[in-house]
């Protein structure tokens, strides 16, 4: 890996392996170069450094998640991409043109190739589903006949062709977001920005909407940028991830790399939301510090990587000749990689516990000794 690559995509804090795997294409869809965004003090409120030292690129055709807690700067970041906000310093290059330098009519033309969907859908209550989707086309000056054909096509694409004449107040949240997606895609944009688009939806509807976005990415090749505070969204959909905290990028790269080796506490806390790092209450309450007679040592093993957890218990039992008990396990898949932890019970006779820890360490499974259970 060379210095130029790491400068373009990775962040100083990101682990080297993540940066090398996230090597930039020569021609990214979006590139942030030296971005900062400062909201000046206004009416007694102090100024806010919303974004600082932002340098990364979003590959063409990718699905990139930008994850962070509220106030991390996600919304500001996404609004820089479609020119709704101007950076205080730096440039935002979208599809080879510097959108941060455009204004007026030129900016409005550029915005037609960037679609956006919103947490609260932002549909016009005075327009039917079809007319909502038609709005960006009317603004772009399409003819009535072209609009009609395009709207029918889009309604079918998002799977609500039968809701043509319905008003938003007659539709469910999921249906409204489908209209939002159709509207965002109407002018055939090359980038689709999603600002917490599933945060107001129930888990089942969220899944359906994320599936739809995945289809759109696959079939239309649209680059998708997902702003979210929900790990489930990143886990289900994103291939690349940028972790944002307090206005800075703290990690970025392939989802699998970032979440199998999370370095920053924020990344670790997002991961914990999915895999959980707490023991089941019934187990935690039984753990004691001193080995009781005939008890088991409790060891937690971190599982990271493709197929990593599949055979660890069996191999441990076979190679060390021990009756390894599985007390608790939680494994999930993120970006095709297994991520999770196993809690093992090791029969507490002799040096078994030390041999297990040595074996795990040899095969590079991070492990910790939690105590004993009877």
């Amino acid at each position: 890996m060379n210095a130029h690559q790491s400068l373009a995509v990775g962040q100083p804090i990101a682990p080297p392996e993540a940066m090398s795997r996230a090597a930039p294409e020569p021609d990214p869809m979006v590139r942030f170069a030296g971005i900062s965004k400062i909201y000046p003090a206004y009416r007694g409120k102090p100024g806010v450094n919303a974004l600082q030292d932002i340098d990364f690129a979003i590959p063409r055709g990718s699905i990139t998640g930008v994850i962070g807690r509220s106030g991390a700067g996600k919304s500001s970041l996404v609004r820089l991409i479609n020119g709704l906000e101007k950076p205080t310093t730096g440039r935002v290059i979208v599809d080879n043109s510097d959108i941060s330098a455009l204004a007026g009519r030129e900016l409005r033309l550029a915005q037609r190739s960037i679609g956006m969907i919103f947490q609260h859908f932002n549909l016009l209550s005075s327009r039917t589903a079809a007319d909502n989707i038609a709005l960006p086309l009317e603004i772009a000056g399409w003819t009535r006949a072209d609009i009609k054909a395009r709207v029918a096509e889009l309604l079918t694409l998002v799977g609500i062709a039968d809701k043509h004449d319905r008003y938003p107040s007659e539709l469910s949240g999921g249906q409204k977001q489908r209209i939002g997606i159709a509207r965002a895609l109407a002018t055939r944009p090359s980038v689709l920005l999603s600002d917490e688009a599933t945060s107001a939806l129930d888990p089942q509807t969220t899944r359906a909407i994320l599936d739809l976005l995945a289809n759109i990415n696959r079939e239309l090749g649209v680059t998708i940028v997902l702003i979210t505070h929900e790990m489930t969204v990143v886990r289900q959909l994103a291939k690349e991830v940028v972790v944002l905290d307090a206005g800075r990028v703290v990690e970025s790269g392939h989802v699998a790399d970032i979440f199998t080796h999370p370095k920053h506490p924020i990344t670790q806390s997002f991961l914990a939301e999915v895999i959980g790092d707490s023991l089941p209450v019934s187990l935690a309450s039984r753990i004691v510090a001193e080995p009781p007679a005939g008890g088991q040592a409790v060891i937690r093993v971190q599982v990271r990587g493709a197929g990593a957890g599949d055979t660890v218990v069996a191999r441990l039992a076979r190679e060390l000749g021990l009756d390894v008990a599985l007390l608790s396990a939680r494994i999930d898949e993120i970006g095709g990689q297994h991520v999770g932890s196993l809690v093992l019970g090791i029969p507490g006779r002799g040096d078994a516990q030390a041999r297990v820890l040595a074996w795990l360490s040899h095969y590079q499974f991070p492990a910790e000794h939690l105590g004993y259970v009877a």
Binding site: L124, L135, Y167
Partner: protein, 221 residues
């Protein structure tokens, strides 16, 4: 009541409707754009011009705080300039328009401000110009509120029109004062009040109905 008196009432009703109708149209023609501008020209908004916004706001407030009867008399030279005369129903339309436009502007401003700011951002995100945002988003979305605002303006104009008798404007109010009060004909006064009540009811009901018709928010649960 004699046929002559009934004829007087019919004629006066016609004059009132004429003055109020034209003044409402003209007041809307000036008040609607003014209201949209007032709602969208503060700092950081669509047509940001904070200074112009403050100056216009001050003018609107000044006009609205001038008692109508004083306004009528004070602008007589201007009325003569515009209408060619300062007497009669047509001349009365001038002060009625000048009084109603700022009123309508404030009502329009309030209705436009009710529109969810997220919709402006949404339209901007797909490259709508400020004018397109006004015409395709703000006005259609504020339409139920705008209809109710205009209804309120027409009702107020009916009240104002009673005062233009002072400059020979005629109309129901003038009839009530001259016959009902000055000639002490209580039945005339009652008849005028009854017609005015009926007109206000009619205007308000029509406005409510129209506002409900254009409101897509609540109609379907």
């Amino acid at each position: 009541m004699s046929p002559e008196l009934i004829n007087l009432i019919i004629q006066a009703t016609g004059e009132s409707l004429y003055m109020v109708g034209i003044a409402a149209l003209l007041g809307t023609a000036f008040g609607l754009p003014l209201g949209v501008f007032l709602a969208t020209s503060r700092k950081g908004e669509l047509f940001a011009a904070p200074l112009v916004n403050r100056v216009l706001g001050a003018i609107v407030n000044a006009t609205r705080s001038t008692p109508f009867i004083i306004l009528v008399v004070a602008i007589i030279p201007f009325t003569r300039l515009v209408a060619g005369t300062s007497i009669g129903s047509t001349a009365a339309i001038v002060p009625l328009t000048i009084a109603s436009a700022p009123f309508i502007a404030r009502l329009v401003e309030a209705a436009i401000r009710e529109v969810d700011g997220g919709l402006i951002e949404t339209a901007s995100s797909f490259g709508a110009s400020p004018m397109q945002i006004v015409l395709k988003v703000l006005i259609p979305e504020a339409l139920p509120g705008l209809v109710l605002a205009l209804t309120l303006a027409v009702v107020s104009l009916l009240g104002y029109s009673a005062m233009v008798g002072a400059v020979g404007g005629g109309g129901l109010g003038d009839l009530g004062i001259r016959y009902g009060y000055q000639r002490f004909m209580p039945e005339m006064m009652l008849a005028v009040v009854a017609v005015l009540i009926a007109l206000v009811q009619l205007v308000q009901s029509a406005g409510d109905y129209l506002a409900r018709r254009v409101n897509r928010r609540l109609r379907h649960r």
